[in-house]
Amino acid sequence: MFDITTVREIDYGPNGVVYVYQDHDKPKLWYMVPVPTLRTVNGAPAFSIAEYTKNGGGLSGLCTFEMELVQPLAAKAAAEAVLGDDISWGGFTWVGGTAYFHYDIEGETEVLAVEPTLYGTNVAAFQIPLETAEALNTFKAAYSEGGGASPFRVEYDMQVLTKLLGAKATVKYVAEAAIHYEKTYKTVRDTWGNQKQVLQDVKQVLQQSGAGEVNVEIGAGSTQELEQRVRDWGWTTLETQVANTVAAAATMATGPNPVSATTSFEQTYSEDTVIDWSTPVSSFMRKFSSEEWNKLFIRVDNRKLSVVFNMIGQLTRTGDGEAIAESVTVTVDYPTRTTGNTFTLIVKDGDQSSMIYEAPGDFSGGAYNAEFTFSYVIQFKDGTSFQSDPVTTTDTLINITPNVFGTRQVSFIGQSIPFLTGASPNGTVKTVNIDFFFAPPSGSPAIVQTKTMTGNGEDGAVLFESYYNLPIGQAYSYRLRYQMSDNSEVISQPPGALSSAPDNTTSGNADIVFVKDPKGLFTQFTLRAFNYAGQSQDLLLVDVNAQYFDPANDPNGWLYENTWSNWQPSGLLSFAEPRWNFQAVDNTNSAYYNIAGTIFYSDGTDFTLANYKQSSEYKTLTITNTIENYSVLVDTTLIDWSEVASVNLTMFQLKKTAKEEFGDTLPDFFTKPREEMTTEERAAALGSQDNLLLFSILSPAGTPQVDDLNRYYGVQRLREDPLVEFYYTAVYVMKSDGEQRTLTDQKVEGKLSVELPALPPAQVKPGIVRHRVEPAALADHMRAAG
């Protein structure tokens, strides 16, 4: 493992700089952070710009190129001149990363984020549709003026595991400061909602608002250089965490500004903690000589089809480093191309991990046809193969992720858990039982696996790995059960399968889950109000009491409580002060808030929050002069856990515009998990679904207790529309053979509760359950609840 305290900056060439790290145990072993470079394929730059002279189908041109990370020979030579020529070079094991292309068109800075392969040379393929003539000309000017650097750059932000040595760090997000800043200086943005694009805005907001804080304490003997590097890492970590928070808040049905739905958090990383160290590196792309340019720039009449096929993620086995398969042979079907439609990607060769498929545009129907069909055959090492079903799509980036190879590798790593046996004399945790589940391929038994963690760091890591040679879904779920020294058990479980963030594009097979101290998570709850203009009534006065329940950890009643009395919301957006802060166990799967009180409106009406319950995943309650809040009870007690391993529940409401567009028939793809939707399906879901909430419910493992905990879903009703409507899908995974059973299309009238059945019927078309509650039924319910 490399030692972050040994970082050295090495200058090479006219302007080059690289960073090198020494190994923690072997002084002659060094690691170099590689540099983004344009790929060369068959001796030519992997770059092209096409200009469409006649039929662009909405585009003026297209720019496509591939980058990779390399260790320049000149940089190695320069490093060896400083460090000695008897050193050897080790390779980083990347655990995550994103590649960003920074460019600008007409003065507007744009950023395109893609996921690099994470193996080989981390190839990242970029494809930029140039929509206007101005955009095309900007790109032509950027790359064609001969020699030197272009104004556009590519940045790789890669993560690698190491120990935080010689320093401790605290990162803190103060939501109030970010919200104040947004209210004062910002208008509504349209970029929120896409996690990786959000990151760019988050950096600016954190810096200008003062909402971000990174404190570093260096240990005795550590250098200021180290302090600086740790602070840089702290900021990158904080920015990423806030971006995730904002992206998650964007899925709530909570008004125009997701930043105002975020709540504060704080995270401390003590010395020796295993962390994912970030190593951002950036290079300006180069301009091309006129000779090169003449080959790379083409002018064609018609728009062409250009699709990037890309294998990403950890495609090697954790244990022996062997490739998980031999090859993937892809076949594309598009009307204009009759030959060369099949090509092969080689799994163990990073240089052959991607391919850009091109074909003349099909205009036979009058307009440009963006739709094509592809399928692939995976050749496994044991001689077996898998033939995929054909997929028809308009996506121009097809990622082939490890889950299609049937591979799942998830490591759980302890971060400063106070183990009894650990260095800390005050340890309170004996062990951590980890219940882990994912849906296997159909025909394989589905079980909740349990393994036990007894120590922090990579040495104590607990690995779950499976290789099926048949595709599996991207999602997995887990539950942490901390066995405490007083023989009590603390349960911590995230709510959904993977993240509920809308832009979940990570390959998700070789994830690392950091396991932390179960107790004392700083939790903040925010009550905010929107008074929209032009309504027949304003919010006048709010009286609210909120209680926090976590029945999995304490079934005896509420744990924390707060009351806001006689609060008078003012302006468009306001917050009840002070914010409610407390320390809790991180158990967002089943902990919830119970909120009771009355909201008075300026027209003399009022609304009673009658023991309204909201999942603790959402730490903001939004009240407005246009909606009323109701909660839906999710009853899990009927599920037959003798046959069922897991249930994934997705609940959502529809935006008003989507209701009008879809009527009674929702698109079929709404039944798919977000990560399995195509890009366009995901965009459509994002644009029409509101208030999305995922619950992953695991069968009991290792505990005598059955998971019969109720979950709660908060729904909103427009005051002008007396009908309450919400929707859900449920996927049951059967223990015996991994069969995935779904609920079929159903309409339920008058019920503000969801009863998950013991077992769904076999062999039904996946459907969506739609609940409608008319005003009379709602009034009955409120009387009963109040």
Binding site: N15, G107, T109, A177, Q207, S209, R229, P280
Partner: protein, 348 residues
């Protein structure tokens, strides 16, 4: 040493939010700049607006019509002011021009005439500001002229620089021109998109300034405590070049909106005090001038800058919003030029 920077603080656009340091704090500055500050106080009382002006000034983010600039390590203090926040841009330009203690040199007057044409043809933001400082025992004033968006400033830029424009993708735009009648020089102020470290040297080369971009980058790194890897970490930046009457550039200054670089005023103050302390700079006056008020509010900062004068070590500067003196704008009001102040004075 050139004047510190001043530009559009957008105070009016932000509704005059934030706080300003009390004007009286200028009188508390210590030696060696105490006497300069005393003379500035007297001069400000002559030309600055009175407190009752009803419109927030665009000069500062706080909406205050005055701004103090402090300089380190060689201590210095300057004041920029909006003589009449209630006035229109053209009224303010006339007021500032009239307040100059001596006429502009011929070359300066020619530049001012071109700017006047631009201001007539394109809507300006504020028209002008007035700068005051003491140099060589003499009270010096300076006229800052607003260069309106959309005007054909490029021809003046090329004439002055004597070389074609550089960095076409960084949205460089001339935004203000400073004219010091005593020196006869012209200072050009530009706003630009986020620059990369090496591009500072490109800008300096254009004006035949020594390539000292690394000094700027190092100072930014010290202030932000973050490694400058890619773009300079400010979301609102610019630079200025002071050209001498005899030709040639004497000072290159990089500047940033303080909030865009360092965050809210309290963070900016903490960063400046920390870095100044580490470098052994005399920060006592800044500490006093920027101290929080009774509500804990730190006065709004306008700009943070790095000044590179030929043959001199790097100097840093920061500007702080100042509330107007209670007796200001007498001259303007008496002359009947400052409509708002006049009205307020009569009401009082």
């Amino acid at each position: 040493m050139s004047d510190a920077l001043s530009m559009d603080g957008g105070g009016a656009a932000h509704g005059g939010a934030g706080g300003a340091a009390g004007f009286a704090r200028l009188g508390d500055l210590s030696s060696p700049i105490a006497s300069d500050a005393g003379r500035l106080i007297d001069e400000v009382a002559r030309v600055a607006p009175s407190a009752p002006c009803s419109t927030p000034s665009r000069l500062t983010p706080a909406g205050a019509p005055l701004e103090a600039a402090l300089v380190w390590p060689t201590p210095g203090v300057r004041v920029s002011l909006d003589p009449c926040p209630d006035a229109t841009a053209s009224e303010r330009a006339s007021l500032c021009r009239a307040a100059l203690s001596r006429p502009l040199a011929a070359a300066q007057a020619a530049v001012a005439a071109r700017v006047a044409d631009w201001q007539r043809d394109f809507a300006g933001r504020y028209g002008a500001w007035l700068g005051l400082r003491v140099a060589g025992g003499e009270m010096r004033d300076k006229l800052y002229l607003d260069v309106p968006q959309g005007c054909a400033w490029q021809s003046l830029d090329e004439e002055m620089a004597g070389r074609p424009a550089v960095l076409p993708r960084r949205q460089i735009r001339l935004t203000m021109i400073g004219l010091d009648p005593a020196s006869g020089g012209v200072e050009l102020y530009y706003r630009c998109a986020r620059l990369y470290p090496a591009e500072l040297d490109t800008l300096m080369r254009r004006f035949s300034c020594p390539e000292r971009g690394q000094e700027v980058v190092d100072f930014i790194g010290a202030l932000t405590q973050r490694t400058v890897r890619f773009e300079l970490p400010s979301y609102d930046m610019g630079f200025s070049v002071a050209l001498q009457a005899a030709g040639g550039a004497s000072v290159f200054t990089w500047y940033s909106n303080a909030t865009a670089l360092l965050g809210p005023a309290a963070r900016t103050r903490a960063a400046l005090l920390r870095v100044g302390g580490e470098r052994g700079w005399p920060m006592e006056d800044y500490d006093a001038l920027s101290r929080p008020d009774e509500n804990g509010q730190v006065p709004e900062h306008g700009l943070v800058g790095v000044m590179l004068a030929q043959g001199q070590p790097m100097h840093a500067t920061a500007t702080i919003a100042l509330s107007p003196p209670s007796t200001g704008a007498r001259a303007a009001a008496e002359a009947g030029l400052c409509v708002g102040a006049d009205r307020e004075a009569r009401h009082a």
